[in-house]
Symmetry: C2
Subunit: 342 residues, 2 copies
């Protein structure tokens, strides 16, 4: 209910100067054991904790990790952010999270600078951008040596950031091998066109499909990646000649739509079609969905990210490079159905 105690109050309570209190909380060297204890006792009694932001104002950096989440609605992003926060918290490193808000600018989608500028004003020692942003101009003015990690996205616009991402080629290798082993020879891919990861994922699919001697076609959906986009694209895919026996989807949400499209076609007597997703959201595991999906290793992504965010040497070593994390394939009923002859 009352004002927070400051370094000043603690100094008065302990009968010392403010600087001494500051030294104790900076865990500086030369402070006598006696005074240190007096200060700590006074702080305890008053419930004092240092004001991190007043500290930030004075110091070149304030020792916390800034996390920018591109989209709160994407469960993968929030999972990566939360996992990272927990790993860091266990090491007593504080994180502050901001959402990037995407607004309509004169030339298309633009990232609102305000939330990011506010975060940067706090002088984070490092920055973690989770997910892909339409443009990164809001991050233009940053100290050159600040560790920046980008997850689940490329770092094209941030030349010295390090990108931690799932190995798309490995993922598509898993999917294509799995489908080939099941006997699939004609497969469609549905995904968006104009998203940062989209091109990588699609070309990885095409390359690995070719390698597995699978005949492949791509149906693109513009920018949407939700289930209705998946439904529409899957309907288009099912109309292809020859009809594919499997549909590889950009992500789980699109796959759910594809499942609906296949079910509707099946109700009309058409043969079943295998479906694969990407992200292995918990929904994919539900009995009724049971979707085969690529499991992005969130824990490993978070681990790699923290390693770089907290160690400047690691950062300069990987600066401008990519760290690829191996995915796994969670195999479920959506691809377990036997391939109908023909």
């Amino acid at each position: 209910m009352t004002k927070r105690p400051t370094i000043h109050d603690v100094a008065r309570q302990a009968g010392v100067s403010k600087s001494l209190v500051a030294n104790v909380f900076r865990s500086a060297e030369g402070v006598s054991e006696k005074r240190r204890e007096a200060v700590l006792a006074a702080a305890e009694e008053l419930g004092y904790t240092p004001n991190a932001w007043a500290r930030a104002l004075r110091s070149p950096s304030s020792g916390f990790v800034g996390i920018v989440v591109a989209d709160f609605h994407n469960p993968l992003f929030t999972a990566i952010a939360e996992e990272t926060r927990q790993i860091l918290a266990a090491r007593d490193i504080f994180c502050f999270v901001a959402t990037a808000s995407i607004v309509d600018g004169p030339n298309g989608k633009v990232v609102d600078r305000a939330p990011i500028a506010h975060l940067l004003d706090l002088k984070p020692s490092s920055l973690f951008i989770v997910g892909s942003l339409p443009e990164l101009s809001a991050f233009a003015s940053l100290p050159k040596d600040m560790p920046i990690v980008v997850a689940s996205s490329s770092s094209a616009e941030l030349p010295n950031a390090v990108a931690v991402r799932t190995d798309e080629v490995a993922a598509m290798t898993l999917i294509c091998s799995h489908l080939r082993d099941l006997g699939h020879k004609t497969v469609a891919y549905i995904g968006p066109e104009k998203r940062p990861v989209a091109a990588d994922r699609q070309s990885a699919f095409l390359a690995r499909a070719k390698r597995s001697r699978i005949k492949s076609t791509c149906i693109t959906t513009g920018i949407a990646v939700d289930e209705s986009a998946g439904l529409g694209a899957a309907e288009a895919a099912l109309a292809l000649v020859p009809r594919p026996t499997a549909i590889v989807c950009f992500n789980d949400n699109m796959a759910f739509g594809a499942q609906s499209a296949v079910a509707r076609a099946a109700a009309g007597g058409a043969p079943e079609v295998a479906i694969t997703g990407y992200d292995n959201t918990y929904i994919a595991q539900l009995d009724r969905i049971s979707l085969t999906s690529i499991d992005q290793d969130v824990t490993e992504i978070a681990k790699q990210a923290t390693a770089i965010l907290t160690d400047p040497k690691m950062f300069s070593k990987f600066s401008g490079k990519e760290i690829l994390v191996e995915p796994q394939l969670a195999i479920r009923a959506s691809t377990r159905a036997p391939l109908s002859a023909g």
Copy 2:
């Protein structure tokens, strides 16, 4: 790449004193039009924006809304937070979001003070707590007149906060009337025991079931509210004598588990059982799930919350009270199946 310009730089560029620049950006009165334009031009050229936190240091409050999200994994919470943020952003009010991290303390679950203390150090003008926290001691020292809104939870521990929440009684009225109209006479409720909203929801169900002359039983699951908890509780419910013909679930996640339990029983020849969820997550809409569920009006909750967060008069009017938001029932296949005779 370089340091952010300060009020100082702008003053030098415009050839005026720092105070004048400050006055312009405080949109204070007595500043000549000529100087104002000079300052604005200089600021524009340098790309200056005020540092909100240095400002906060001096001022009693810094004009932004602090949002604390209890659980990043809960899509309802992130939806409420994001919706609120957008409404506020449209009114040029900035929000900062922090996650509450729940850690194991000596006496059970405890809220980690650090993230919240850091947020409060920033001196928000108002505070929005989304979701329910095991304890609220981290919020103990707050100015008495600071507007505090709690969503999707009760505000028992924060005596003058205002709670914005879905009307549980109205929700259960919708569910019970719907089930009664379908001919259900024996219904089980499955839900957790030790969660803030749990008791309200359960007793609302019991009251409304009685009113609808429905015979009701409750199965509680401790603290877990995920699908495996739902699976277990539903199995217990299905073993009741007389066997219920419908199961009302605490939330959608538990309902998904209940759907699995019913499907497994049905595979063994047992009759179908109607299922209802709560939250109307987008998963509930998926063709394969098609779960009847209570739709909490996220937009309305966000609207009510912003009204109180931004208007001290509204806050003092509703302080210590609850604002109930009317839910709707999204009716889907999970309750559309005809009731089997007997």
